[in-house]
Amino acid sequence: MTASRNKILNSIKEHQPDLTELPVIDIGKVIGYADTFEQFRNVLESIGGKVVSLPDWDALQQLVNEEKQQENFIINAVPELGEITPEVHNLTAVQLEKLEKIYVKGTLGVAENGAVWVYESHLLNRLTAFICQHLVLIINKKDIVGTLHQAYEKIEVNKEGFGLFIADPSKTADIEQSLVIGAHGSRSTTVYVIE
């Protein structure tokens, strides 16, 4: 294996062309949006997500409390919404398979594509965002940036072991290009935007 490593690297060294410069990515040249929230909402809704604007956390807290009374398996991963569901990091796929809904705090939203960045620690368990039937993401309105360029300036991709951009529910068009929502991941995504 070391032999292959050296063989490959030597072959690359021998064959790679003369060094060229990296371009300077001037964010001043990219699109800007007058109202990032409006843009975020329009894009996300056009691709199957749902966006709800809320003045504060009250209505959501109530919703979570009501849902917790029901029989469905709900996980709350957002401290602002009350007690965080314990021991989620230890749950296996078999246990999480019954997960109906999870509430997750997003770090930021991206206006150009409706994506929300989520760190692993906010998911409690890497699998939750995918295995749940319904995903609820919550972001602050002030944390919606214009494009991915600004987003990558704010996040730290290797701060934790895993993180991701999520945009809209899972989908596929693999059968005759007919769009079907709910492929393997969540069947719906709702993003609550707190003023």
């Binding site: 690297l9 790679q16 060229t20 295995i131 990558y152 393997h184 991941g185």
Partner: protein, 455 residues
């Protein structure tokens, strides 16, 4: 000899209405790409940045790969190097064997198609379940994918329904995509939950941080990777990018170019294994370093596998992916595959009109149609074209380089085609297979010009 593009395409187009459906469907995807691209005033700037980042990366590739390895190891990822497809397969099999694993899921990875991993593992008695819906469909049918982004685009929903009826016991005759997708969701959820090992591809590997990004719409790569105790990510070494900030450029281009979406549903950034999980990366060469040394063809290694060149290609749209008889079809495949096996893939650079549309839509500015033309020259000089084509080309070159002879031949051809059309329009002249004879002009342009010059 293996069947060639023209023969396989002939089989595909035997069904005229299906050919038209295929053509229209892919053109629809191309139009969605246009709409997404036109929504960003900086689109051309983005392509230029992407192209320059990739050019730079290729020019400093050995350093970036070493950097990536160092950082990935520090993150707790086990890094392997494979000189070719066989070594890649052996490494993967070795990991499976060491853990004594039977249940394996795999998300889309064109590299594992290129290395024929599934075939290799099945010879070792190991079954791999492909989890991308399109890939699962073609796996049931024992077919290769026909498109790198839309693997089952060559099939109708009726065919999918029949396949699912046979393998998943779905209702016979129910062709509803929603129903069929739901059946696959339930079937594959069981596979995910049972799986001990997940294999994924890699869209981008970041030298600066030692992590990698996997993009899917279905969530299948993540369902596998976050369930299994062992995750193997396979990547061609050209997937490296220098820094995390460069992801902004590539993720903005990738899904818009591929399907017209602003971004894929999930863009997952992996840096460390979960507690008690084992994470492996296999970095594969398999002819890539040879391609890097071919100045005319090296920038094919900039490809980010969006398939925009497939969707726009008039030949791909009307001949289907299977006619390219390789893991990566379409225009980009036709410039990558001759490097892997020039003789077996000598037909592919000729499966093009050289219209240049592929080059125009490529998000990383690969000069695809120019490389197709250059491969033709390499292939002809290596003597890898058929005797008929060779003789024809030589004959034409001789005629075109002798103006008097050319004029004589033109007059003769016009006369022959008028009086004895069957002499050119017959079975021996493949050019006329699907074409009508044009009306023969009375005179050549030169004759007309000489006659009218004085007027």
């Amino acid at each position: 000899m293996n069947p060639k593009h023209a023969d396989l395409a002939e089989q595909f187009i035997a069904d005229g209405s299906r050919t038209n459906w295929h053509d229209d469907t892919l053109w629809f995807v191309r139009e969605k790409r246009d709409k997404a691209a036109h929504g960003l005033p900086e689109w051309e700037q983005l392509r230029e940045w992407a192209s320059q980042i990739k050019n730079h990366t290729l020019s400093n590739l050995s350093n970036y790969l070493e950097q990536f390895e160092e950082h990935a190891k520090a993150n707790g990822i086990i890094v392997h190097w494979a000189a070719d497809g066989d070594e890649h397969n052996q490494i993967v099999h070795g990991i499976i064997k060491r853990h004594n694993i039977r249940k394996i899921v795999k998300s889309k990875s064109m590299l594992t198609e290129e290395c024929h991993l599934n075939e290799y593992l099945s010879h070792q008695g190991i079954e791999v379940v492909d989890t991308d819906l399109g890939e699962r469909i073609v796996q049931f049918r024992k077919e290769p994918p026909s498109h790198i982004v839309l693997p089952a685009i060559h099939l109708t929903k009726k065919q999918v329904s029949e396949t699912f009826h046979e393998h998943l016991n779905t209702e016979k005759g129910n062709n509803d995509p929603q129903y069929l997708t739901e059946a696959a969701r339930q079937h594959l959820r069981d596979k995910f939950i049972e799986s001990d090992l997940a294999i994924t591809g890699v869209n981008f590997a970041i030298a600066e941080t030692g992590g990698f990004v996997v993009c899917t719409n279905e969530g299948n790569a993540d369902m596998g990777a976050h369930t299994a105790n062992v995750h193997i990510a396979s990547m061609g070494f050209e997937k490296i990018i220098p820094k995390a900030e460069h992801l902004s450029v590539f993720l903005r281009l990738l899904a818009r170019s591929a399907t017209g979406q602003p971004i894929t549903t999930y863009s997952s950034h992996f840096h460390k294994p979960r507690p008690n999980q084992e994470m492996h990366i296999v970095i594969v060469d398999n002819g890539r370093s040879r391609q890097l040394g071919r100045a005319d063809f090296r920038n094919s290694l900039k490809c980010i596998r969006c398939a925009a060149c497939f969707n726009t290609c008039p030949v791909y749209r009307r001949s289907g992916g299977h006619s390219y008889h390789t893991a990566v079809a379409g225009p980009i495949g036709s410039i990558l595959n001759p490097n892997l096996d020039m003789k077996a893939n000598a037909d592919l650079p000729f499966a093009s009109t050289l219209c240049g549309s592929c080059t125009n839509v490529c998000p990383v500015k690969i000069d695809i149609h120019e490389q197709l033309w250059k491969w033709r020259q390499v292939i002809v000089s290596e003597g890898l074209v058929s005797t008929g084509k060779k003789a024809g080309m030589k004959g034409m070159a001789f005629v075109f380089s002798n103006p008097k002879l050319y004029r004589l031949a033109g007059r003769m051809a016009r006369w022959t085609m008028k009086i004895f059309p069957f002499i050119v329009s017959n079975k021996l002249n493949v050019w006329y297979n699907q074409r009508e004879m044009p009306e023969v002009p009375k005179q050549s342009f030169r004759e007309w010009y000489l006659e009218n010059k004085k007027k």
